[in-house]
């Protein structure tokens, strides 16, 4: 009975495998050869590209910045997404659907359009600067482009839609009856959050958070537009290396490092979560 299901699996699997492996192989195998510039590669297998990456402070700095902005953006996005997810999960009213509609529209609209809006909002005579200047909180107009904060905000807009939907799918697995039960036994709402909702949702939140983190690590458009050439993340660097310098081997090595690091970070996080959970079970 099970075997016929495998038959369903095989054709799509082969197609996907060919596409994934084929495209990545063609590109990444470049990284194991010497870069001769202009898309040409040497003929001997070598790890020089990788050695160059890890021994150059510029690349390491870029690597670190990428991880940093992605992590911050992921955390903030989870933070902003949670209330909406919770409200939609618990209140099945028209309001909830309305809130959801806003989220979905936001996901539909491409990030380029949202960046236009951000640039206008944060321009020197835009709303934010005008208000802050009038309130006397800043002396000179603040610019969003070319700052790490700007990139983080761009990444947040890129991922917040998915964040809400992911968080929703987690919150919704906690039956309201559990909350009621806790309250009947005298728990305050705060306690309910602390002892019921958060612990039950935590694993799902972590997995969702990792997904958001992955999206941010690979995000190109928002980082390119808001980084303004001053803040470079790995995807932007890959694009520059390919387009501007036409150094395929170098770009491929950067891309491969990005890919591997994302996978490793995910793996370690999941293992750490499992360790924590089993530790808590022992203690509790």
């Amino acid at each position: 009975m099970e075997n016929r299901w495998i038959a369903y699996l095989i054709p799509p699997f082969i197609i996907t495998l060919l596409l994934v492996a084929g495209s990545q192989y063609v590109f990444i195998q470049n990284s194991f050869y010497q870069d001769l510039g202009l898309g040409r590669t040497g003929t001997d297998l070598t790890l020089t590209n990788y050695i160059k990456f890890f021994s150059d402070s510029f690349y390491l700095k870029t690597f670190w910045i990428t991880i940093k902005v992605s992590a911050i953006a992921a955390l903030l996005t989870l933070f902003l997404g949670f209330p909406i997810a919770y409200v939609v999960a618990r209140m099945k009213s028209k309001l909830a659907m309305f809130l959801l509609a806003g989220i979905v529209v936001s996901t539909f609209v491409t990030i380029v359009i949202k960046v236009f809006g951000l640039i206008i909002i944060f321009s020197a005579d835009g709303l934010i600067n005008k208000t802050l200047l009038n309130l006397g909180l800043i002396e000179r107009a603040y610019s969003i482009i070319g700052t790490q904060e700007g990139v983080v905000i761009g990444l947040m807009h890129f991922t917040i839609g998915f964040s809400v939907l992911l968080l929703y799918s987690v919150v919704v697995t906690v039956p309201p009856s559990l909350e009621y039960a806790a309250q009947i036994h005298g728990a305050s709402r705060f306690r309910v959050y602390q002892r019921v909702i958060i612990p039950l949702c935590a694993p799902g939140f972590v997995v969702g958070g990792l997904m958001i983190f992955n999206m941010c690590m690979g995000a190109f458009t928002s980082a390119a537009l808001l980084g303004g050439g001053r803040i470079l993340t790995l995807p932007v660097l890959v694009q520059r290396t390919v387009m501007m310098e036409v150094k395929y081997s170098t770009a491929a090595s950067i891309a491969f490092i990005l890919l591997v690091s994302v996978i490793l970070i995910n793996l370690f996080s999941l293992i750490a979560i499992r360790r924590l959970r089993s530790a808590r079970l022992v203690v509790a």
Partner: protein
């Protein structure tokens, strides 16, 4: 059940998130009503509201919009053809390397789109070298790239729905005498439809919004909408871009209403919101 303090906190918290979320789009729509001269300072709120820039949207943007819609629709359809049997096969079978196989299907999510763009272009030239089939700079070539990035979304949502699938429905169908195909067609597929719809919606949007991959795969004379916007920023950052963007926002709202009418927004939620698993 919730206390008043909690309700207020949630309200403010939600409100803040919402303002954050929606302000860029509102600003774009507002600024598109720019009434001034050819690109005098683009401001929000606009000085003298006018729809003038809507008439100045270059024809190419509409063509690009049409192309993007078609490509996204076709790519989503093909992605569904791949993802549905794949998800069924994966969830219901039992073999050792399930995780590996699942990773292959989810892999495109991990690969930065820009890398995929270059990789596909190189792959196409390799294919041309070995077989004479030219895919670079063609519509099928672009479609294939979009299918690549869209399939994981469909795969993820359908898998999520299948994992919650109540097998008794199928068993009941068999015991009532329906054959395998009938059951599949009349019971299984309709039940997982929410997953297909929501995954399809994400897939459509991902394909519609893609910039980095499409830059490399555009065919001469065929440019997708976000890429056209990206280029327009390069040459003429005037309010017609904002007007064009506002139309897209309105279009997305319309799509939303259609979804609500056809399947209801809840179905989007119930099918797991993505490929977390």
């Amino acid at each position: 059940m919730q206390t008043w303090t909690e309700k207020i906190i949630m309200f403010i918290w939600c409100g803040f998130s919402y303002v954050f979320l929606l302000s860029p789009m509102i600003v774009v729509m507002g600024a598109s009503l720019h009434g001034g001269e050819f690109s005098a300072a683009i401001k929000f709120p606009p000085d003298e509201p006018s729809f003038q820039w809507y008439s100045k949207i270059p024809a190419e943007q509409f063509e690009a919009l049409g192309l993007s819609l078609i490509v996204a629709a076709v790519a989503t359809f093909i992605a569904a053809l791949i993802a549905i049997p794949a998800a069924l096969g994966l969830v219901r079978s039992n073999f050792k390397l399930k995780f590996a196989v699942s990773s292959v299907f989810r892999a495109p999510l991990q690969i930065p789109a820009i890398v995929s763009g270059i990789a596909f272009l190189q792959l196409y030239y390799l294919i041309f070298d070995t077989s004479g089939l030219m895919l670079a700079g063609t519509i099928p070539g672009m479609l294939l790239g979009h299918v690549f990035i869209a399939t994981p979304f469909l795969f993820g949502t359908i898998v999520a729905v299948l994992q919650r699938f109540d097998h008794r429905l199928e068993e009941a169908s068999y015991s009532l005498g329906a054959g395998r195909w009938r059951t599949l067609y009349r019971v299984t597929l309709p039940t997982i439809m929410p997953g297909i719809y929501s995954g399809g919606l994400y897939a459509f949007m991902v394909s519609f919004a893609d910039v980095p991959m499409s830059i490399f795969l555009t065919a001469p004379g065929f440019v997708t909408y976000p890429v056209e916007l990206f280029y327009a920023m390069e040459n003429d950052f005037d309010p017609s871009i904002l007007a064009s963007s506002s139309l897209v926002i309105v279009f997305c709202l319309a799509m939303l209403l259609i979804v609500q009418k056809v399947v209801g927004l809840e179905t989007l939620l119930r099918s797991g919101g993505g490929s977390a698993r």
